[in-house]
């Protein structure tokens, strides 16, 4: 399975954020999307998730049997700050989510099995999401794509503000499930990217660039990457 972007472009007024991007993401790999503030990481995610309409170009999903345009249902999007309906309890929300997505669920786990999987304590399941900590909300968001298993999972700065314990739990989880998915992970934190990701993609000047594997192991990697990101922005 592959996610293919073809000539994707997006501008805001005069600023061109995505410039005619053509790129391939493969199943079974975790991609770390690196870029400076305002480089367009979230814009790229929003275009893929249909939150924003791209000016031109399309995204395709290519599987063994078919090649088709990417649909909203193919995507699981974890927002940088979790966005969940706060008047529900965690339990109620997951029940609702499972109900409306029941045609996409392949496992036969119960709601409580899922909560166990995410290490969410029994008493927390019955609290209003409004009272959840940031980490708890994040777990619920992650749980959403564990349940529906969309082909493409986009994570916008997901681990940045979690405590170390939850961070580790989430990292493990991502590593466990990545084989069946195309996982793209945006971050500012270089160490997180090198740690977790199989491939590093730099987004700058509106273009995507896959960094060479040999570079990842290079002791000078950090300096080189910074040079790439800086060079391009100094051309602006």
């Amino acid at each position: 399975m592959k996610l293919v972007l073809k000539n994707l472009s997006k501008s805001f007024e005069k600023k061109q954020v995505l410039k005619d991007i053509t790129f391939e993401f493969e199943q079974g790999k975790i991609y770390g999307l690196l870029g400076r503030n305002g480089a367009g990481k979230t814009t790229l995610f929003n275009c893929l998730a249909n939150e924003l309409k791209a000016d031109s170009g399309k995204a395709y999903l290519i599987t063994d049997t078919e090649e088709r345009e990417l649909k909203v249902d193919d995507i699981g999007y974890v927002f940088s700050s979790s966005i969940l309906p706060e008047f529900l309890t965690g339990y109620e929300f997951i029940k609702f989510y499972m109900d409306v997505n029941k045609d996409k669920i392949k496992d036969d786990y119960t709601i409580n099995d899922y909560f166990e999987l995410m290490k969410i304590k029994e008493e927390d399941r019955y609290r209003l999401i409004k009272d959840y900590s940031h980490g708890m909300k994040n777990k619920i968001q992650m749980l959403m794509f564990i349940i529906t298993r969309p082909a493409v999972i986009l994570l916008d700065e997901p681990l940045t503000s979690l405590d170390v314990v939850v961070q580790l739990e989430m990292k493990k989880l991502l590593k466990d499930i990545h084989k069946d998915h195309i996982l793209i992970f945006s971050t500012h934190i270089l160490q997180l990217a090198t740690d977790l990701c199989d491939e590093i993609v730099a987004l700058s000047e509106g273009e995507l660039e896959l960094l060479d594997h040999s570079m990842l192991k290079d002791s000078q990697f950090e300096e080189k990457l910074v040079r790439i990101l800086k060079e391009e922005s100094s051309n602006e």
Partner: protein, 533 residues
């Protein structure tokens, strides 16, 4: 001081210009003309100070006009049948109490925290004294000119000598320095803002309002003669000069203004606080829900959107159910009162017939006022849709239409309870007053349909215009306009005292047509328009 003034002025001008362009871009039709206006060009022009002066002057003039219409115009309008000397007395009374005392002392500006002061003094470290004084003087200058224009016109209507008005306006503006002085001295003495010393501040404000209104209502205004007025105005002016001297010599502006303009007070969050406040009435109070309720299986039989909707209404019963119960109680009391009155009050039968046949438009306003739909759409957005609309599954046409019809059913149900009780009560009281069912029943039906109408109207606007942004602002001028017009029309209906007979059928017909059109539009377009911006 000039340089500080010029800089600050240009910057506030570009800030407000940008805001205006941003707003204009969002109005349908007009927005197209602004589509290509780039902020770059408006922000950097060098002749901005001219535009800044014009904008500021227009704002002040408009504000002066508006306050004159409200403060002076309304009492003069209410008592328009008084003799000219009485109206003159009302006018001068209002000017002295509300413009001099209330405006001069309550409406002080220098110490009140503001976004501009925060930015210019605290963030950009402009010279506080220069900034405050130049701004204050400039504002007083603009106010003097605007007030001169407005009060000379009013003076001409009320036949007041021109020199008296001129002295009055000058004195009024000078006296504001005295008001500012009082606030600063209070702060220096007690380390607290006068406007935050609620008991004193609001006590004084309410006393002044009472002082303004009571003598007018009792018709005991003082009939000033010209000489006493000159004396009063000159005393105010002298106090103003004392105030001015104080403001000019005061040298703690930096410290005081830095203390007053705290981040927690307003600062960059002023907008967020304001926005949040506009949703305060629909916020979920988590303390209200106990463990039992949160663990309950009450709705476990329901599935998907039905389940979501059931819990949503359950958790919002404070907004939707409590008012309903209250309204029903009021209707019950009115019903008993009506029945009693039909026996006891002499002309009640005739009055009641009048209400039913000629003044039924009052129910339009009542139904508008008690409809909980507007508030509930706000709750729907703030507590539910703002988050769920970010997910693909919730945005699909089927999901949008499902939530729409589930919500419509629930809301219509809750709003129908008071409507039906009002309708039935009207019919019952009618029987006691010998007004036949043939006359009361159409009105009862009208009320029920009105309740349906306002429910659909609010939900329709919400789904078709979706006016709220994730930043919790209402970013849709059309929504604001339609809401204003709805209120205005409902209010007008309150003023129709003798409605023609055909109006009932026309209103019934229009309401039914509107309901049908709204439903069709929602089914055709809601899946495209119901998005988070």
């Amino acid at each position: 001081m000039n340089e500080t003034f010029r800089l600050a002025n240009e910057m506030s001008a570009s800030m407000s210009l940008n805001a205006i362009v941003c707003y204009m871009k969002k109005i349908p039709l007009i927005g197209k003309a602004f589509k290509n206006v780039s902020y770059e060009h408006i922000g950097l022009k060098h002749n901005l100070s001219v535009i800044a002066v014009i904008i500021r002057a227009l704002k002040v003039l408009f504000g002066t006009l508006l306050s004159a219409v409200i403060v002076v115009g309304i009492p003069l309008f209410i008592y328009s049948n008084y003799t000219i000397s009485d109206r003159r007395a009302i006018y001068l009374h209002v000017i002295i109490v509300l413009y001099f005392l209330f405006g001069g002392i309550i409406n002080a500006d220098i110490l009140s925290p503001s976004r501009d002061k925060f930015i210019f003094i605290k963030v950009m470290k402009m010279n506080a004294r220069d900034y405050i004084l130049s701004n204050f003087l400039w504002l007083q200058f603009l106010k003097t000119i605007s007030e001169m224009i407005v009060f000379l016109i009013i003076g001409a209507i009320l036949k007041i000598d021109v020199p008296l008005t001129v002295v009055m306006v000058l004195s009024m503006n000078l006296f504001r320095c005295f008001g500012e002085m009082v606030h600063i001295m209070y702060y220096e003495k007690f380390g607290k803002l006068l406007s935050k010393s609620y008991a004193i501040f609001y006590g004084f404000a309410i006393a002044l309002l009472a002082l303004a209104i009571v003598p007018i209502v009792m018709k005991t205004m003082i009939q000033y003669n010209a000489i006493s007025l000159y004396v009063i105005f000159i005393i105010f002016a002298i106090l103003g000069l004392v105030g001015y001297r104080y403001l000019y010599r005061y040298d703690h502006y930096v410290i005081t203004l830095n203390e007053v303009n705290r981040l927690s007070e307003l600062s960059i969050n002023v907008n967020k606080v304001k926005k949040d406040a506009s949703f305060a009435d629909v916020k979920i109070n988590t303390k209200k829900f106990n463990q039992e309720e949160l663990r309950s299986n009450e709705f476990s039989g329901k599935r998907g959107y039905d389940y979501l909707n059931a819990i949503f209404f359950k958790r919002h019963r404070r907004i939707v159910l409590q008012p309903v119960l209250f309204e029903v109680a009021v209707v019950a009391v009115a019903l008993i009162g009506g029945i009693v009155a039909s026996f006891m009050v002499k002309d009640f039968h005739k009055e009641y017939t009048d209400l039913i046949t000629r003044s039924f438009t009052v129910f339009i306003f009542i139904m508008y006022a008690i409809s909980s739909a507007g508030k509930m759409t706000k709750a729907m957005f703030y507590n539910c849709d703002i988050s769920l609309l970010r997910y693909g599954f919730y945005k699909k046409e089927k999901a949008v239409l499902t939530t729409f019809s589930l919500r419509l059913n629930k809301l219509a149900f809750y709003n129908l309870i008071p409507a039906v009780s009002i309708g039935i009560s009207l019919v019952i009281i009618g029987l006691f007053c010998e007004v036949g069912i043939r006359q009361t029943l159409p009105i009862a039906i009208f009320i029920v349909i009105l309740s349906l109408f306002f429910t659909i109207h609010h939900l329709f606007l919400y789904y078709i215009l979706q006016p709220y942004t994730t930043e919790l602002e209402v970013k849709n001028p059309l929504f604001t306009i339609i809401n204003g017009v709805t209120y205005f029309l409902s209010y007008i209906c309150l003023q129709i005292h003798v409605a023609p007979v055909w109006l009932l059928s026309a209103a019934l017909g229009a309401t039914v047509v509107y309901i049908i059109v709204a439903l069709v539009l929602v089914y055709l377009y809601a899946s495209k328009t119901f998005v988070v911006k």
